[in-house]
Symmetry: C2
Subunit: 464 residues, 2 copies
């Protein structure tokens, strides 16, 4: 290996390690399944994970999807990935749509293929209790941003692909496509070429081949500049989301939101709040935000978002109507901290940080497994108070199992109607406290505990 | 004229009128000088202003600049614009760089030409007491955004070209380049082709000819979508600027800013505050914001921005050092309202809204021209409390003249060092209240006055 190659390898791996650390992508002991098409990006991802698995303290596995739409080329790709994994002792989960009996459409869209792929990844993540690492690069990020800008987007869309969502992890967002190729080349690793050509993909190709080189003429490091903008937008979006949550919190009344409070809010915060009311229901296009803002200004009328959900203003309150009656919209995520939270649907949660001794003294009756409190030292991450998201999982205290929240709710027999409203605390997709079930496995106080988080809950009676 | 042409004309003019109204670009009686190169965009601008000057209640003039760098073509353009103005009875201010004895560089850059042009516009605006309308279109806006994204930008840069800055007004930001061309064609108006080719212009040309068509392949209305994003970013930027101003206000101590207050702020607001500290000194690149944030975190050290300005943390206070000693940075703009404002440099301003009768009763001594109060009904626009900006002008009460703030400060003999700190209230570039001079001509109470804005000022003694 030439010293030039060594330099490339070191540069790429140090960049990736720094990014993983900064974004908190991996924890010691995580099982990580690399989604591997066989292209340069995903080969770079898999190579990096394998070469640095000791530094990251993770277990590395892989998966490959044959969508059943590229015939013999797809089989060659599957064989390529299989051979690599066999040679490197990596457990590989192959998914073959045809063998699985999937009905392949006549003209499969990129959207269809994506749905198939992610359906399988979701299943695999739960089955293997693992995270899925995908190889999206900074170049994909920049293409996504430009594509969204063309189609119409706001701050939220400009935040781009997040480095982590539920059990999905994207370590390569810090690398350009050129860098993943250079890394493979420096390691003497060949890779396959992807040649899909669906409609959306073709629009993306024009962005890749025409738009980005034009921007690179203005600045050769244009991709890096746009990726940085994207990170700024993500920070801004998260902060706005927090402000919006605080606004909705302040406006919460029993059945909905007091419109006089909402009306006092300033433009961008109100828009972010309205976005968080619409986004669980449908794509929060600017049109719907404008219509909902208009509804608030008028102080009367209704806006039907889908056959299932209508927003209506009645007696100064913004209500959410469904065919099953009035259901308030779920609470938007907000940062976890000490305080009292009045949440939609009459849910009330209070969090307090207290000395463990004091907690023991003042707690008249112990819940048998102490799951109404958690050791502060064990949950120091950036938690959010929110409701369920796809991909959430929970480890109920004392049960030694990890379940998707969906399965766990099924087990508890919680009605579908109530599920969107139940408050929880989560670190990414890992639920650390759940309404009615308390804190998760592994965060209970022990003999070293100094301070604990205490939680108190109440629910207003429904008067329907 | 065909009915198709009539439709185009009506659509374009209604779009322009709505935009002018919505953005408050013109006031009755304004003198407006259209900057006219002779190209489609600026011919469309001039045609619109002429055809609808009665609706807008404005006087329309024009100006054309021959930069002295395109020889015979430039002379043809000047003749074209001259002929148009003569035929339509429009007063034209021709500027010919060669005739004015300007030294033309060997390889004049686009930057140089821009400087020449805007230097002349500035002079003309003051000399003619007029606004300058430039023909920037939505297409220019989108090119600017993409260009800035490539070079590296944040929320502020994503806000694009503002529809109004000082005495500059851009009514055509609501039209695509295609629409200005269609409007000229529908009116049977020919126009000249511009063919500059400086370096930056060439990068812009690649964005225009390669990047934008690629985005239009994803969505034919991509320009409209990006212009809308741009407006959202402008709202967001303005709101963040307000939050940042409130933060700096809260952190203000006599000589600078209390770093313990700044440190408590959240990322985007702190960044906007740091941006407002850096931008009067030099281009507020992300690098400097990061360095200044780092300085705050460390709580010691210094950051030299230019040979003239250094920021330093001493005893928990962020100071601004210049060769002439410690000078606090100017106050960032904030929305005008009732309240007390402690501003950098020891300036204190209090605004109160009171019944005129009460004011007359409680005011023990009248200033001879009553310029410590203004009729509320006469200043209802969106005012900002800020310090001077280039292009500001002021009409001192009782003097019947309009002056640039620069000239007025010269007249008053205010030291250069103090000028950046003097508080003022402004509606765009029109200063309505100025530290030491009171309210401007035309806003004094009269016999119909019901309520007045009262202002009280104090200045802390300097202990240097």
């Amino acid at each position: 290996m030439s010293s030039e190659d060594e330099k490339v390898i070191e540069h790429v791996e140090e960049t990736l390690l720094a990014y993983c650390r900064q974004q908190g992508l991996f924890k010691s002991g995580d099982r990580v399944i690399a989604a591997c098409s066989g292209g340069a990006d995903s080969m770079a991802l898999l190579l990096f994970l394998l070469r640095r698995r000791r530094d990251l303290e993770i277990e590395v596995l892989a998966t490959h999807v044959n969508h059943g739409i590229r015939g013999v080329n797809a089989i060659a790709d599957a064989n390529f990935v299989t051979a690599f994994c066999r040679k490197n002792g990596v457990e590989l989960f192959l998914y073959d749509a045809v063998k699985e009996g999937v009905q392949i459409p006549q003209q499969p869209s990129e959207e269809w293929a994506r749905g198939l792929r992610y359906g399988w990844f979701d299943q695999l993540a739960v089955q293997e209790e693992a995270f899925i690492a995908t190889a999206h690069t900074m170049s994909d990020q920049v293409e996504t941003i430009l594509f969204r800008m063309a189609r119409g987007t706001g701050v939220h869309g400009m935040a781009g692909i997040p480095p982590r969502r539920g059990y999905y992890i994207r370590p390569c967002l810090c690398l350009t496509r050129g860098e993943t190729e250079a890394y493979c080349t420096a390691l003497g690793q060949n890779y396959v070429q992807d040649e899909t050509n669906a409609q959306d993909t073709y629009a993306r190709n024009r962005i890749r081949h025409d738009a980005i080189p034009a921007l690179q003429y203005a600045n050769p490091a244009a991709e890096v500049a746009i990726a940085r903008l994207c990170r700024q937008m993500r920070d801004l979006d998260q902060w706005l989301t927090g402000e919006a949550a605080a606004l909705l919190q302040a406006a919460t009344v029993e059945k909905g939101y007091d419109i006089s409070v909402l009306r006092k809010a300033e433009g961008p915060v109100l828009d972010a709040a309205l976005h968080s009311l619409i986004s669980p229901v449908r794509d929060a296009e600017e049109k719907y935000i404008t219509l909902l803002r208009f509804l608030l200004q008028r102080g009367e009328g209704a806006l039907q978002l889908t056959p299932e959900v209508t927003y209506k203003v009645k007696d100064g309150v913004l209500l959410r109507l469904t065919p099953r009656g009035i259901r308030p919209p779920p609470a938007p995520p907000q940062p976890f901290g000490e305080g009292q939270f009045f949440l939609p649907g009459g849910y009330f949660v209070e969090f307090r940080r207290v000395k463990y001794e004091e907690f023991l003294k003042n707690q008249p009756i112990f819940k048998k497994d102490l799951n109404c409190c958690a050791d502060c030292a064990k949950i120091q991450k950036n938690l959010q108070l929110r409701t369920r998201l796809p991909g959430d999982f929970f480890r109920p205290a004392g049960r030694h199992v990890r379940k998707t929240l969906k399965k766990y709710y099924n087990e508890l027999g919680i009605p579908q109607d109530e599920r969107p409203l139940l408050p929880l605390l989560a670190d990414g997709s890992e639920v650390l406290w759940l309404w009615g079930s308390g804190f998760a496995e592994g965060v209970a106080p022990d003999s070293y505990t100094n301070e604990v988080w205490m939680v108190r809950t109440e629910k207003a009676e429904e008067d329907e």
